[in-house]
Amino acid sequence: MSGSTIKVIIGPQHPALKEPERFILETEGEYVVDVKVRIGYIHRGIEKAMENRTYLQGLYLSERVCGICSDAHTTCYVQGVEELLGVEPPPRSRFIRVVVAELERIHSHLLWLGIAAHEIGFDTLFMYVWRDREVVMDLLEIVSGNRVHYATNTIGGVRRDLNDEKIHKILKGLKTLEDRVKEYLRMIQKEQTVLKRTVNVGILSKSDAIKYGAVGPTIRASGVKRDVRADDPYAAYDEIPFNVVVEDGCDCLARIMVRGREVLESIHIIREALKKMPGGEIRVRVKPRIPPAEALSRVEAPRGELLYYIRSNGTDKPERCKIRTPTLANIPSLCKMLVGGYIADVPIVLAGIDPCFACMDRVLVIDREKKEAKVWTLDMLRRYGREWYRKR
């Protein structure tokens, strides 16, 4: 304990956190004066595992990086691999990718809205939003056959086609969703208790958002127009006109509104995509061996910019696959948002960036004396693991 501050430790296990991560808050009374973040509780070694698997097997691994934005991860991965191969996916598959990506964005944002409501103690809204989220989950099941891991993308296109019956069902479901989301947005802007808990809470000014490199809805809620879909269009986003949703509030309410309005925008994008969808093939066959090259692929995941770096070496396995998830990019801004607020506001501010810690955690072994990072091979890791357990 230093001076009059008390350390309140949030995590690794805490009901406000859906995944283990540790936040050490220095508090004075109910105020937070300093934050220390300790990440790395659920590192899963997916990047390393990808190096030992073929490109097609890596696709299944990348799907499992995140349970919520699984489609964004595969899209990003296959785009990288396609770039390495130099193949162009057929136009119809690019539109199907957009449809699934936007359906996923709707599902992710509704899920987040429910969690945000739960964090401020508004369980009724939480239950209602999650009930309506079932609509979009069902749509995803119609499109892909699965509710969570859609497995739509494959290298060189998509695996399932859309027919008229499916399209009709999607349009019907979207209508219900549109009405409900509009109703929630209207309610949130009027409900005094929600406003009291979110207005001027977790402020991240425009300059800070740029300085700390925030991404996704977090930076768009601070009034910065930044969206990979518009800035660096992929899939079929260059052929579909849409608005980048921006709010100037810089607070938690702005983050709620950005996500809510993005759901409406996504509904619009899906309708346009279904309207403009060309016919033809949905995938092209590709060779399993990939010539040596490197590729950087970017995708706007529901949480923000997702980045894959893939380097090939002429075999059927990648030499390196680096994943940078949006949560990691938002952690510095999160620390900025927490300082100066109340303890009571920590959960909603934490939830404000829509954290997904399991996707984020990485390990870098650093030799403290030599001050350099060490690269471990899988064999070295195995040996280290065996020895570590023997010593216990």
Binding site: E119, I120, D123, L125, M127, K196, I343, P347
Partner: protein, 314 residues
């Protein structure tokens, strides 16, 4: 002999405990239906035995006293959490015009019990030896500063027209003169409902046990038997709160035609319970500073205005 039977069975311990379990089930089911959920379904018909099953299960769980906890208060708090509201229910009329125990000035005794309850929550939370329970305990005490004054004002309002400080006499007077507190002093009723929400730590005032912020607040360290007692105590408190509303503002148990007073009383009590449950689902949780400033800015003046109006009329 008949008094002992009354004390032990009806309308004493057994009746109150059953009523407490039943009320918890009603509230859970009601809130669940509002939130478009199912609520308890498994134990008994429609899950009616679920609160009782929870209680039995908790009794069988391991009972842990944290190393840093103050043993005396840690044991005392769950006991008092149950016994204080139980005691308070004896002075409230339920089955007839007169409560089991009734004396001039029992309204003051009721107010005393409510404050003691919060103080026990504060001590139990503060001395549990966990940061979360400490914050929860402090929050409970801070919240008390906000709601205690309007609570007392609203509680004593109905005593003025009845010119008595005995709860039994107040409810009898209201029933006989057909002048329910709800109609004669509606602001006071509103203030009392708000303060009871705060006292019961229901939304939007569940700050001392805010789940997403401080886990379970002041009762985070209680396990096994102690937690079972705390939870039963909360249920009894729920009954107590609705009974207070029914007795002091709705005329309490009264004979209508051939319907016995207890039925009328239960109808009023459950109406109040559902009102509390309904309000609980409508809001997000306030922050502690917002509660304090809101109470002092709006609720206390409202309670005072009600008092002034009352003095002008009577």
């Amino acid at each position: 002999m008949s008094f002992i039977l009354q004390l032990l069975i009806f309308p004493g311990f057994l009746f109150i405990i059953c009523l407490a379990f039943f009320s918890e089930w009603v509230l859970r089911k009601f809130v669940a239906r509002i939130q478009s959920r199912m609520g308890p379904t498994y134990t008994g018909s429609g899950g009616i035995l679920q609160p009782f099953a929870d209680f039995i299960k908790l009794l069988g769980k391991e009972d842990i006293v944290p190393a840093f906890a103050e043993r005396t208060y840690f044991t005392l708090t769950p006991l008092l959490c149950l016994t204080l509201p139980l005691t308070a229910l004896f002075i409230l009329p339920m089955a007839g015009n007169r409560a089991l125990i009734s004396f001039e000035g029992d309204l003051i005794f009721l107010a005393f019990i409510f404050t003691t309850l919060t103080i026990m929550v504060f001590l139990g939370g503060f001395l549990s030896g966990s940061v979360f329970s400490m914050v929860g305990g402090v929050r409970a005490a801070t919240q008390l500063l906000g709601y205690e004054i309007p609570f007392l004002l609203a509680l004593f309002g109905p005593a003025i027209p009845a010119s008595s400080l005995s709860i039994s006499k107040i409810s009898t007077w209201q029933a006989q003169n057909n002048a329910w507190g709800l109609w004669t002093q509606p602001i006071g009723f509103g203030v009392l409902v708000i303060c009871l929400l705060a006292e019961l730590e229901l939304l939007p005032f569940d700050i001392p046990e805010a789940e997403t912020e401080i886990v379970a607040g002041w009762n985070v360290e209680f396990t096994g038997r102690r937690l079972a007692l705390v939870r039963l105590g909360r249920d009894v408190e729920l009954v107590l709160a609705s009974t207070i509303l029914a007795d002091i503002y709705l005329g309490g148990p009264q004979q209508v035609w051939i319907i016995p007073p207890i039925i009328i009383f239960l109808a009023k009590m459950f109406a109040c319970l559902l009102l509390l449950g309904y309000l609980k689902t409508l809001f997000a949780r306030f922050r502690i500073d917002q509660v304090l400033s809101g109470m002092w800015k709006y609720v206390i003046p409202a309670a005072m205005i009600q008092f002034i109006i009352l003095k002008l009329i009577w």
